[in-house]
């Protein structure tokens, strides 16, 4: 059973004073997220990431299409008790303290009173807000609000969490903690769906990613598949600064730094290079297949769609 199945959700906003103009925020989107995955939803600013999440949360209504979440119709209130949501730049009732807010949200999510007390303390500790639990939220900084946001999303132990840019506004420690938290959620068998434009986070965390641009899905797949669509090259590293002429002759791209030599060669020349190094008594340190980074893939995808869009226009 997939955790999320998006079946052609689309959203067109009416804009302007008379609501005559339309703005298509999301073209019909089809997407499946498997149970237990960390799924990254990538795209540049204005791509439609937040719109997708708001549609899934029932905060805005789709122009067409539907979705299933945890094997229920997405608007079914039963679903809502089992999911957590962190909006982008979250904002909360600022007359409450962090503790009161979580207590209130626990009540709304139907967490029984006894568990609630324990759980609120646990979560405050987990997101690093235990020391400020009694401070009113109007006195919180941006990063602290983000932490509250993450806390409220995981408070009721949901099976599936949606994070809209979970790392934004956090300091390096905070980012690290959120990464660890997402991995911990996955470890506990939960599904995580998060949007981001920080590609290194996606690369480090996600099982699969989807890339959206201008409201359209432009690519989807496992990180390895997207990034290993490579040139068939390997990088070889050995100690010293000597570059045998026969390796140069193979047409390798060579970088020398410190007492390391890095040579990038075709995969099928790998054995030949190893033989040469052995003959020359050089110490081989590593052989690494060259991958395109997710960033290269991402930029490539967007650039390509730009040119095709330009052609059809």
């Amino acid at each position: 059973m997939p955790a999320i199945e998006i079946l052609g959700l689309e959203k067109t906003y009416s804009v302007g004073f008379w609501r005559k103009h339309t703005k298509r925020a999301l073209h019909p989107l089809h997407l499946t997220v498997e149970d237990g995955e960390i799924f990254g939803f990538l795209g540049p600013n204005g791509a439609g990431k937040t719109t997708t999440l708001k549609l899934l949360m029932g905060l805005v209504f789709p122009t067409a299409g539907s979705a299933r979440i945890l094997d229920h119709e997405w608007t079914d209130p039963v679903v809502k008790a089992q999911i957590g949501f962190l909006p982008e730049q979250p904002y909360f009732y600022d007359h409450l303290t962090a503790h009161e807010l979580l207590e209130y949200y626990g009540q709304l999510s139907g967490v029984p009173a006894k568990q609630r007390k324990v759980r609120v303390d646990e979560v405050l500790h987990q997101v690093g807000l235990r020391d400020v639990r009694g401070v009113q939220l109007r006195k919180f900084s941006k990063g602290m609000l983000q932490r509250v946001g993450i806390g409220q999303a995981i408070l009721h132990n949901p099976k599936l969490v949606f994070f809209d840019e979970p790392m934004s506004g956090l300091d390096p420690m905070g980012r690290r903690e959120v990464r660890d938290l997402m991995e911990e959620l996955k470890h506990k068998g939960k599904t995580v769906f998060f949007s981001t434009h920080i590609l290194s986070d996606a690369e480090a965390l996600c099982d699969r990613v989807a890339i959206v641009h201008k409201g359209e899905l432009r690519g989807i797949g496992a990180i390895e598949d997207l990034t290993s669509s490579v040139q068939g090259k390997v990088e070889m590293v050995w100690q010293g600064s000597l570059v045998p002429a026969s390796i140069k002759a193979l047409g390798a791209e060579i970088h020398v730094s410190g007492d390391r030599v890095r040579a990038i060669i075709d995969e099928n020349q790998q054995d030949a290079v190893i033989d040469i190094l052995r003959r020359e008594r050089q110490r081989l340190i590593a052989v690494i297949p060259v991958r395109t980074s997710l960033e290269t893939y991402f930029v490539e995808k967007l650039r390509r769609s730009e040119t095709t869009a330009g052609r059809t226009a």
Binding site: G58, L108, S109
Partner: protein
């Protein structure tokens, strides 16, 4: 469901209290004691009349202002600030949110009215040094005032569910003023002819009929209130508030959050 509505209501109440809404009680107390002392020189009968008239009118006006000023922001402010995102992504139905907000605001007003009523009775005791049976009529007037608040709360919520706080305030205040003259409006409609008669009658019966709720001057003169009026006003207020709330729910159920 009932639990969630109660949680939302109590959070709304807590917000009003923390936003120091009940501070208006201080102003009210000052006004009332000032008036009581000022008229302290005149004869007992007039003193009582002034205290009851002024006291109850102030209770009603203070409450209306509070109902409108909190009510108009209840929905639109939450949409504007996006505090609703993390509420509606929980197992909270949109109608539960509206109903919870309504009870929270109504509760705030009841508490507020209670304290003001204590003030009125205090002032009354100060001027006449005793209570008589006719003073119980004040309770009926207070009950009507609270019924009136229920209608205003639901109307403010209705406006808040589709328009900005400023416009909602304008709508709600206008309806309050027009509603206070509803009886005159109905009489006027009776005198018109043709299509304007239909329009005027429609309008006259659509606006809340607050004139029926105002028994302040008659009870100040110790005239009894017909029990039929009590029943009638109760039913009318419940009906009107339910209708306005249903309208708010219908609009809000379909609304895209910003």
């Amino acid at each position: 469901m009932k639990g969630r509505i109660a949680y939302i209501a109590s959070n709304t109440f807590r917000e009003a209290v923390r936003d120091r809404v009940l501070y208006n009680l201080i102003a009210f107390a000052l006004l009332l004691s000032g008036a009581a002392i000022l008229v302290g020189q005149i004869s007992i009968e007039i003193e009582k009349l002034v205290v009851i008239n002024l006291g109850l009118t102030a209770v009603s006006l203070f409450g209306v202002v509070i109902a409108i000023f909190i009510g108009i922001g209840l929905v639109s402010k939450e949409i504007e600030k996006r505090t609703l995102y993390t509420v509606l992504s929980r197992p909270v139905r949109r109608w539960e949110f509206i109903v919870g907000k309504f009870f929270g605001l109504a509760g705030t007003l009841v508490v507020n009215t209670f304290f003001m009523a204590v003030g009125v009775f205090g002032a009354l005791f100060y001027v006449s040094h005793k209570f008589v049976r006719a003073d119980a009529l004040i309770l009926v007037a207070l009950y009507f005032i609270i019924l009136e608040f229920l209608i205003i709360c639901s109307l403010s919520l209705l406006f808040s569910s589709f328009s900005s706080p400023l416009l909602s305030a304008v709508f709600a205040f206008s309806l309050f003023v027009i509603g206070s003259f509803a009886e005159d409006l109905r009489n006027f409609a009776g005198m018109a002819h043709g299509i304007s008669r239909w329009l005027a009658t429609g309008a006259a019966y659509l606006v809340p009929n607050f004139s029926a709720f105002n028994v302040i001057s008659s009870i100040a003169h110790e005239q009894p209130v017909a029990s039929q009026l009590v029943v009638q006003n109760t039913l009318y207020a419940l009906f009107y508030a339910t209708m306005a709330l249903s309208g708010a729910v219908l609009i809000f159920e379909r609304r895209d959050l910003k």
